[in-house]
């Protein structure tokens, strides 16, 4: 039999039809929805006089717009409230399970799927949100879609997709202490650029990847979209199975054994061919931080901003425009730059492990007086775990306050906006102009680098 990739195995098993010379009709196992990209899809569907075809395969949660304090009160901002209310009404009308603000399982869509065991190996998963790639950490094909495609899935549980090319990124060896999977992500994107993965689906492999926890794998797959790829995935293994076992929606009893046997077959065969392949040495990766306005503009926290001398034409103009926005100069050293805001959270780094890392670092230290910190759990369950593990006390005695779950400053649709010109060290995934508020200057980093910045008030190396 021909050697095939993990991606091919899952994709091929979900093809209902292939249009000649066109895309495949791909069956979707799980469809996550939220308040921002679903309303137009619902109205389109209803305009055609249709109901959601498979509501039981759909899961909804409001996350993008929600406030991160006083969630028991009605949302103050009218348009945000309207979107959340529209989602609730649409879910009721179409019998879709909704984990709303008051629900004990509420949270960011890409956090709650995995933690409830909804996300499982071998599945196809879509959501009207590009960071759907997160779910690939379980060995599933998961990717973000547009609203027209959300409507397609509502109507038929399928979408039309051309089959992407395949890329494998191997990271071999052992990560140094205090280097996290966020640093792997920023390192890889800096190497291959924000468009290096375009047209591809990425499989992450290699000994350094195997040794990562599920939380860390999710961080990495989450960021795979930032290199332009449709998504990223990691073959399921004992770490995956141990994480899933016993979760709410995970199979139980005999069904578990049967699924487990299937899941164990989900790996790339020896000799399978990828369109593109890269290999990196884990030992070369250090804690990273970004200096520009796309996630590919990252360097080691001890490093300096490139001079850009090797760039010409529009590449150079784009580089300089980006630095001007950030208020940086070519060749400058980042360490020691004064910062104003720190954000710990998002579907990239809003899981329990991220808050443990953060708490461990700040324990016994104090937040810099001029820094505003938003510590935002990815879900209610994460929030509860933070409390149970006593991390809140550690945070509070260091001068930090825990907020309530949501996307928050990741995209600043709610009130958590970084003011114009201010510097934020953020554990989220995008440092685009204005992403964290008009004029906000975002530096992406791991929870550890963010913790070090929060305590010192400057860009710092957590290893020092």
């Amino acid at each position: 039999m021909e050697a095939t990739t993990l991606f091919d195995k899952i994709w091929d098993a979900h093809v209902v039809n292939i249009i000649e010379g066109g895309p495949s009709v791909l069956y979707i196992d799980r469809h996550f929805i939220h308040e921002v990209t679903s309303p137009v899809a619902f109205s389109g569907l209803e305009g055609r006089g249709l109901k959601v075809f498979r509501p039981q395969n759909t899961v909804a949660t409001p996350d993008h717009n929600v406030p991160t304090i006083e969630q028991h009160l009605p949302i103050r901002e009218e348009l945000s409230r309207k979107q959340v209310e529209t989602l609730t009404a649409n879910c009721e009308r179409h019998n879709i399970p909704l984990y709303g603000l008051s629900h004990k399982w509420h949270g960011i869509v890409h956090i709650i799927g995995p933690e409830l065991g909804i996300t499982q190996p071998g599945m196809t998963i879509v959501c009207g949100d590009s960071h759907t790639s997160t779910h690939g950490a379980f060995g599933s094909i998961a990717f973000g879609i547009g609203t027209s495609e959300v409507e397609m899935v509502f109507a038929s549980q399928c979408i039309l997709q051309p089959k992407p090319k395949k890329m494998r990124i191997n990271v071999e060896g052992t990560l140094a202490k205090n280097v996290t999977s966020k640093d792997i992500a920023l390192y890889v994107i800096a190497k291959i650029s924000t468009s290096g993965g375009t047209g591809h689906f990425v499989e992450f492999a290699g000994s350094a990847i195997r040794s990562l926890s599920m939380e860390a794998r999710m961080t990495l797959c989450n960021m795979s979209i930032e290199c332009g790829a449709r998504g990223g995935m990691i073959a399921p293994d004992e770490t995956t199975f141990a994480y899933l076992k016993g979760r709410e929606e995970a199979p139980k009893g005999a069904a578990w054994d049967q699924k487990l046997a299937e899941w164990k077959k989900l790996k790339t065969d020896d000799g399978a061919v990828f369109d593109t392949e890269y290999t990196y040495d884990a030992a070369d990766i250090s804690p990273m931080i970004t200096y520009g306005t796309n996630p590919g503009m990252g360097v080691g926290v001890q490093g300096s901003i490139p001079t850009g001398d090797d760039l010409t034409g529009s590449d150079r103009a784009t580089f300089l425009k980006s630095l001007e926005y950030m208020g940086f100069k070519p060749g400058e050293i980042l360490k020691g730059k004064k910062i104003d805001y720190v954000f710990i959270g998002s579907c990239t780094n809003g899981r329990i492990e991220d808050f443990r890392l953060f708490a461990e670092y700040i324990k016994g230290k104090k937040k810099a007086s001029w820094v505003t910190a938003w510590i935002v759990p990815g879900s209610k369950q994460v929030e509860q775990q933070i409390r149970e593990e006593g991390l809140v006390e550690i945070m509070e005695s260091a001068g930090f306050a825990l907020r309530q779950p949501g996307c928050s400053a990741c995209l600043a649709m709610n009130d958590d906006k970084v003011p114009e010109g201010k510097y934020a060290v953020s554990t989220s995934n995008r440092n685009f102009e204005g992403r964290q508020g008009p004029g906000a200057r975002t530096m992406l980093a791991s929870p550890l680098v963010a913790a070090a910045a929060a305590v010192s008030g400057f860009v710092s190396d957590p290893r020092e």
Binding site: G22, V36, L50, H64, D129, M413
Partner: protein, 214 residues
């Protein structure tokens, strides 16, 4: 997970019954230049303007933070505010539309009045989104793109011809032409104004038997 692949040819009679997106055929127009690379969807339409629950009206906030100054007045340096530029073709630097999956970005470009976006490279999700909204993404070579920027620079009214049927874009002033790629299925959809959802609905039987066999 046993199943068989069936190849399906779309019956033309079916296409005749539906017409959801605006048909696209040929456009001759001047173009608006945006010679910036890596324009992400947060620039095309910032998140704070994603709060509507319908598809219309996003054009007002297209490129909002570049188009308007802090005090809300139009930024005269930005191409969209420059009266010398007009037309239904937007020409942008490479890697256009990276970032978020928000289809609002495609809606905003369309709602503003553009029908073609030209770049030397498009992000995947954005490309899919524009195609689903009757907007044509035309991917050209770096050289051809540079030629377009130069032609507009010399004469802001410089005209370009985009013909979907022959898959060509013509830089009239330089007399150069580029043959662009497009998926044949998507081309058919655009030419005829077909809609993916009606096609998927026509497959209901296959989908249900796929589910049963799974």
């Amino acid at each position: 997970m046993g199943f068989t692949l069936t190849f399906f040819l779309y019956p033309l009679s079916f296409f005749n019954q539906i017409n959801m997106i605006e048909k696209f055929n040929k456009i001759v127009s001047s173009a608006v230049p945006l010679p910036i690379e890596n324009v992400d969807t947060d620039q095309i339409i910032p998140a704070r303007f994603l709060k509507a629950v319908e598809r219309k009206g996003f054009g007002d906030n297209l490129f909002r933070d570049w188009r308007y100054k802090k005090d809300g007045t139009p930024n005269p340096d930005f191409a969209l505010n420059n009266p010398k530029y007009s037309g239904t073709i937007l020409v942008a630097g490479k890697n256009f539309g990276s970032g978020s999956s928000r289809e609002h970005a495609a809606w905003a470009v369309y709602d503003f009045g553009f029908r073609v976006v030209v770049s030397s490279f498009f992000a995947d999700i954005f490309k899919g989104n524009v195609l689903n909204n009757g907007l044509l993404p035309v991917q050209v070579s770096e050289d051809f793109l540079t030629g377009m920027f130069e032609a507009i620079d010399k004469n802001p009214a410089a005209s370009f011809e985009v013909d979907l049927q022959s898959q060509t874009i013509r830089n009239v002033s330089l007399s150069t032409e580029y043959k662009f790629d497009i998926n044949p299925y998507k081309k058919e959809c655009l030419l005829k104004g077909y809609d993916d959802i009606d096609y998927l609905l026509s497959l209901k039987k296959e989908i249900i038997s796929f589910e049963t066999a799974k």
